[in-house]
């Protein structure tokens, strides 16, 4: 197979691909116009923007736009929170997603399978504001289900929205509930694409279910896992604003564990924002994300070159 890959294609062979390339043009154009051309707008983060001179004509401003973000006393907290939560989200969501995908694929009943699949995806489609009220129904100090349960069992009420120590778990749980369906979908697609004969052969050789999973399903899943992983690493310095702002109901006591780059920027620029400083935050997140993607891809290519994306 390897040799076949290296063989050069003759012009005639190229010819047969021409329709495919033509089909690619609209997509490439879209990418160019929508994703690449606007990138030049990145300069606005280094400018003292005014509308008359436009993005490119405005005077340069050095790194001044970044100051409020990086010189803040909270800089460490928000970067740590953003980073660690995302790491936790990636790990938890991938593991839970894989487990769910494998389980769902083993459901024999066709319509039940569809039902499970959809109900796992459903939270992904629920607005974060609605989610925040679902969480509030559990955690409300006055009428929340948890506190009602605690008091009916003679326990003290817990002031959830003022107790930071619970929140890393609450947020990871909520994020998993909400986001896992998306990853699961992709894993289900991969798992159901695995040729059934592998399992038949394994079963003949006496492999039990667990052995089938570890020796067939998981190895097939690795490329998808790595792809999804690299994609999430690229966004590791972005945080889901709704998750960190709406779910904790913007409670001040929780800031040490819920303040992330996005919520910080929102709160800082809620008055007297300016396009320059908001772009500065975006540039910072993208640059760090891009660096991390290159770095992780490099690690992957070290360990198993076949699985690296580029």
């Amino acid at each position: 197979m390897k040799q076949e890959k290296k063989k050069k294609l003759t012009p005639a062979q190229y010819k047969q691909f021409i329709p495919l390339y033509i089909m690619m043009i609209p997509g490439l154009l879209y990418l160019l116009v929508n994703n690449y051309i606007p990138m030049t707008g990145i300069v606005v983060a280094f400018k003292k923007y005014n509308v008359n001179d436009g993005i490119y004509g405005s005077p340069w401003n050095g790194f001044k736009n970044f100051e409020y973000l990086l010189t803040s006393n909270d800089a460490f907290t928000i970067i740590r929170n953003t980073f660690l939560y995302n790491v936790a989200f990636i790990i938890v969501n991938n593991i839970v997603g894989i487990i769910l995908a494998i389980m769902i694929c083993d459901v024999a009943h066709k319509s039940l399978k569809k039902l499970y699949q959809s109900s796992i995806l459903l939270p992904f489609l629920v607005s974060i504001v609605v989610t925040s009220y679902i969480v509030f129904a559990f955690l409300s100090h006055e009428n929340g289900m948890f506190n009602a349960f605690l008091t009916s069992h003679g326990q003290e009420k817990i002031f959830w929205y003022n107790t930071p120590k619970y929140w890393p778990f609450i947020l990871i749980l909520v994020n998993c509930w909400k986001g896992v369906g998306y990853g699961t979908l992709i894993y289900i697609a991969t798992v159901s694409g695995i040729d059934g004969t592998f399992y038949e052969a394994a079963a003949l050789d006496g492999a039990n279910k667990w052995q089938q999973i570890t020796n067939i399903t998981l190895p097939f899943l690795i490329p998808s896992v790595i792809t999804l992983l690299l994609m999430s690493i690229g966004r590791i310095f972005y945080s889901d604003f709704g998750l960190f702002y709406q779910i904790p109901q913007n409670s001040g006591t929780l800031f040490p564990v819920t303040n992330t780059i996005d919520t910080y920027v929102y709160r800082a620029l809620i008055s007297s924002g300016g396009i320059g400083r908001s772009s500065a935050a975006g540039v910072f997140q993208s640059v760090v994300g891009f660096t991390l993607v290159c770095f992780s891809n490099w690690i992957v290519s070290r360990i198993s070159p076949d699985n690296a994306i580029f």
Partner: protein, 520 residues
């Protein structure tokens, strides 16, 4: 083979993401080519003709304003407005209604991309950015066209929107002060034998007076143990306009209703401590909702829902009538502070002319007209007369026969955010002379010594951004008494100083001293 698979997965994931993400996200660089700064007619020189051009091709004014919700009769209102402006100004109006929910994003996009826009409501917090980004024009250049505004507003208020010599826009005609008040349900208040006179004259120079409020809360709590006595989103400590001249953002204030010229840190004052302490008592005794610090529903909503006795607000002459229509309950208003006129309050929102305007002179003429024409203010506030509202026997506006709040196709009750509600009709339930009451009220209040001064926040923008995050972290928990003020206030102040509070205070003092010197 593997590479292919990865590629396929990648594509699948990207496609799914694209589909699912829809139009959300990606708020990056939205500004397109904004090089088209239209060459407007230059400012009128000397004895320029300020009369309205009734002959030429009608100019179309793009007028952005805030509405309570999208009304079904918007199109009819647009037509009526256009008919009116064609008749009186020979101009057309492109009405751009926005709700508060969409306003901040949309206006930012329109401004930064230089979209067609002539007149829009602008909020003081954004002014420094609007000026440096050249989104708005200096109205001093169009003064000859704005004599009507001057007549309506008076010289003092006309210039209230001035930032470092740049006239950003005009305040709206409304109450000029923001005293703190407590709205209580009249039925329970009366039932427990209270009289509003018993609560007269509660002022921060005597903290013992506030015990009366605590006693009232205790009585209500005892009589109705299941009722939330105090709810809503407003606390005394966050009602900063009621106690000091906040000098735009509360980070460094003029204490005692602005009757001083020394900028100090309000969060370290005894006043702030006492206010936090009061709430601490209310919280610990269970008078406040346990969820009050995370609650985002206004007191009006809570009272309307039926299980809330009182909430705090900035009161004005017709608060009782307004709250009756908003909550469905008769209310009494307990006054908790004096009123003071300060720049930040008066110029909190102004009507500005956007730099993107194609004809700024015509825009100024339109703005001038908008401040003087009652019919226009009624149209944007209450809708089309005869369809959405009619005049009742007292001269107030009310719903026509058979129309209710639920079926009315256009109804905002947003007079406070329109140019001049005083020129139009007040809603039914108000006294017939309500606008006169407003004028008396506005003329009677204290005026801050720094009235007319507006901070140019540009030199301290970084510090203010960081202070905003500290304040948003502590304000609710400290001011609602969730945290013990004895320790939490100190902690908050430390965080504020670490974020550069002293720098902001010094800058404010410097700018204020310069301004004061220029006044004499």
């Amino acid at each position: 083979m593997k590479a292919k698979k990865i590629f396929a997965t990648l594509m699948a994931a990207t496609m799914a993401a694209t589909v699912l993400a829809g139009c959300g996200g990606s708020s990056g660089s939205s500004a397109g080519s904004s090089a088209s700064a239209p060459a407007s007619q230059e400012t009128a020189s000397g004895e320029a003709d300020t009369s309205i051009d009734m002959e030429g091709e009608p100019y179309t004014v793009n007028f952005c304003y805030l509405v309570a919700q999208e009304g079904a009769d918007q199109q009819k209102v647009n037509e009526a407005v256009n008919e009116l402006t064609m008749r009186e100004l020979n101009m057309k109006v492109n009405m751009i209604p926005m709700t508060f929910g969409t306003y901040s994003n949309q206006i930012q996009l329109m401004l930064s991309s230089g979209e067609d826009l002539d007149i829009f409501p602008a909020f003081a917090a954004n002014m420094a950015d609007y000026i440096t980004s050249q989104y708005i024009v200096d109205l001093n250049d169009y003064e000859p066209y704005l004599t009507g505004v001057m007549d309506v507003m008076g010289e003092e208020d006309y210039y209230a929107g001035t930032v470092a010599g740049f006239l950003t826009g005009f305040p709206r005609m409304q109450e000029r002060g923001y005293p703190a008040g407590l709205v209580v349900r009249k039925d329970i208040f009366d039932e427990l034998g209270y009289k509003i006179e018993d609560f007269a004259g509660i002022r921060p120079d005597n903290w013992d007076d506030y015990q009366k409020v605590t006693d009232l809360f205790a009585a209500v709590h005892e009589a109705y143990p299941d009722m939330v006595v105090l709810d809503g989103t407003v606390s005394l400590g966050t009602s900063t306009y009621a106690w000091t001249d906040v000098l735009s953002d509360t980070f460094g204030v003029l204490e005692n209703y602005g009757q001083t010229t020394t900028v100090t840190n309000w969060f370290e004052t005894d006043q702030f401590y006492q206010l936090a302490k009061l709430h601490r008592t209310w919280f610990e005794n269970g008078y406040e909702s346990a969820d009050i610090a995370t609650n985002t529903d206004s007191g009006e909503i809570k009272m309307k829902a039926g299980n809330c006795f009182s909430f705090l607000l900035y009161y004005k002459p017709n608060t009782a009538a307004e709250k009756l229509s908003q909550t469905g309950y008769e209310v009494e208003v307990i006054e908790l502070s004096d009123a003071c006129k300060m720049t930040t309050g008066v110029a909190s929102a102004v009507f500005s002319i956007a730099n993107a305007s194609k004809d700024k002179v015509k825009a100024a003429q339109f703005l001038n007209w908008a401040y003087t024409n009652g019919e226009f203010n009624d149209l944007i506030n209450w809708g089309v007369e005869g369809l959405d509202w009619v005049e009742d026997e007292n001269g107030n506006a009310c719903y026509p026969e058979g129309v209710t709040a639920a079926t009315c196709g256009y109804h905002n009750d947003y007079g406070w955010i329109y140019p001049n509600q005083f020129a139009g009709h007040a809603w039914v339930g108000n006294d017939a002379d309500i606008w006169d009451q407003y004028k008396v009220y506005n003329d009677s209040m204290m005026t801050s010594k720094a009235y007319g001064f507006q901070l140019d926040t540009t030199p301290v923008a970084t510090e203010i951004a960081q202070l905003n995050t500290v304040w948003s972290q502590y304000q609710k928990d400290v001011c609602f008494g969730i945290l013990d003020p004895d320790t939490a206030i100190k902690e908050m102040n430390d965080a504020m100083y670490a974020a550069g509070l002293q720098t902001v205070i010094d800058e404010k003092q410097k700018q204020l001293d310069e301004w004061l010197a220029a006044q004499n």
